[in-house]
């Protein structure tokens, strides 16, 4: 199964994009707004579409057939859902570990 870590410097943007698409199919502009709303990160168009291209190559997302030729929505695939699940679980594990250790550092 492809892993998001294989995307190198696009791992971060790819995680945000997949998290957004987990809520439903979206096109580029809607993705930018949604990611900014839930994470505070504003993806630049070059980075956004570079990450989209790599996610399509890895079959983690796929374009949705649309009548509008100028707007192409994308949706997450089953492989993409599994890769996102794995990536977020890892991030949660690291976050939990860090928080536990920080808690241990706080001494009265």
């Amino acid at each position: 199964m492809p892993e998001l870590a294989d995307l190198g410097r696009y791992t971060g943007p790819a995680t945000l994009i997949l998290s957004s698409l987990a809520g439903g199919a979206k096109h580029g502009y809607a993705l930018t707004k949604d990611v900014e709303q839930f994470s505070g990160v504003r993806l630049s168009p070059g980075t956004l579409y570079a990450a989209l291209g790599r996610l399509v190559d890895q079959k983690l997302i796929e374009p949705v057939p649309s009548d509008d030729e100028r707007r192409r929505p994308y949706r997450i695939t089953a492989i993409g859902s599994a890769a996102l699940q794995s990536q977020l679980s890892e991030q949660r594990r690291v976050a939990d570990l860090g928080l536990r250790r920080l808690k241990g550092l706080v001494t009265p």
Binding site: T11, G28, P45, R70, R71
Partner: protein, 347 residues
């Protein structure tokens, strides 16, 4: 109505390959919406991303992690090609200078010339072995084999483009050779028969490395043959290199990763050795040609502007090959990310 942001966005989108623009038709809309709010950041991001996409479409940057090994080897071979041509030119120049200086040349410099020749031989043998490994891999390829060539792609077009560009380079070298302008880069190489062909090819490439580029008054006085070689040489060299990259990428990977790794290490090692030999030459003969021409006449081994430019080109090509070698050696691994066991001390 089309705004200035829309027009600028359409211009920026042209930095991407046409196939990429077709795959992402809504890119321009997102770009024109973002441009007015943070223009500098968006433009910088687009310039970097589009450059990467251009390189990806040329096959110079791996498109998938599985492609890294293949692309890396292609980059090594592509860097080795102009490196070999420039180094042979360099060797010829040194050989000619040593012959003029006779026994007064330092022994260490004679060794440097021998090391340069040896490193070149190793590099060329490595490249030949690499090509043979690819050819064997193609012959033995089974249907559905992982790492095999894409059946939709053909090597006929890039191979044809490679041969045509090499042929054109030889022609420009011939024009330069017949112009009457002396070039020490080709003086020590075969001048007759079939062996003259690589000499002309090297003459064509080396003619592009000339201080005349920064001296317009010299540039306009160059003979037509040299001028043609100088102008056409860079384009033809780029076409030859890009075509070779495509050929290597479209051939199947060799069956053993160790073979690929050995070839990449051998090629980069030979290139580093050749650069070391050139450094020995530059350190012992810094050269004053151009600034004090009368001193250069007394020292036939002075490198002059061109020598320095060639060495800079050799160092740059070695750096590119080292990047390719890094991809070959790291083809089985992946980039570490936050949450990876390697960063957090294991799972």
């Amino acid at each position: 109505m089309t705004s200035s942001a829309d027009r600028f966005a359409a211009c920026l989108a042209r930095l991407y390959p046409a196939s990429w623009r077709q795959a992402f038709p809504d890119f321009i809309d997102v770009l024109s919406a973002e441009l007015p709010e943070r223009p500098l950041r968006v433009v910088a991001d687009v310039v970097v991303s589009s450059t990467v996409e251009r390189f990806r479409s040329m096959g110079v940057v791996p498109t998938r992690p599985a492609d890294r090994g293949r692309t890396g080897l292609a980059v090594v071979v592509a860097a080795l090609l102009p490196f070999a041509a420039l180094s042979i030119g360099m060797w010829s120049q040194l050989h000619t200078g040593l012959a003029r200086q006779g026994r007064s040349a330092p022994v260490s410099l004679r060794w440097a010339v021998d090391i340069l020749a040896g490193a070149l031989a190793v590099g060329l043998v490595t490249a030949t072995l690499g090509m043979m490994a690819f050819a064997l891999g193609r012959l033995r390829r089974r249907p559905g084999q992982v790492g095999g060539a894409d059946p939709r792609s053909s090597i006929a077009r890039p191979a044809g483009a490679f041969l045509l560009s090499i042929g054109a380079l030889s022609l420009t070298g011939w024009l330069a050779d017949r112009s009457g302008w002396y070039s020490p880069a080709a003086a020590g190489l075969p001048q007759h028969g079939a062996a003259q062909l690589p000499t002309l090819w090297i003459r064509g490439i080396v003619a592009t490395i000339s201080p005349a580029w920064v001296h317009p008054s010299i540039l306009v006085r160059l003979p037509l043959g040299d001028l043609t070689a100088m102008l056409a040489g860079p384009i033809l060299t780029m076409v030859a290199t890009a075509s070779l990259v495509q050929v290597v990428r479209r051939l199947p990977a060799s069956r053993s990763r160790r073979v690929d790794e050995g070839l990449a290490i051998g090629a980069v090692g030979a290139m580093a050795l050749a650069v070391g030999a050139c450094s020995r030459w530059l350190l012992s003969h810094p050269g004053r040609q151009g600034v004090l021409p009368h001193l250069a006449r007394t020292d036939p081994l002075a490198p002059g502007h061109t020598g320095w430019l060639v060495v800079i080109a050799l160092v740059a090509l070695t750096a590119v090959a080292a990047l390719g070698m890094r991809w070959v050696l790291g083809q089985g691994s992946r980039w570490p990310a936050v949450g990876d066991g390697r960063l957090t001390g294991g799972r």
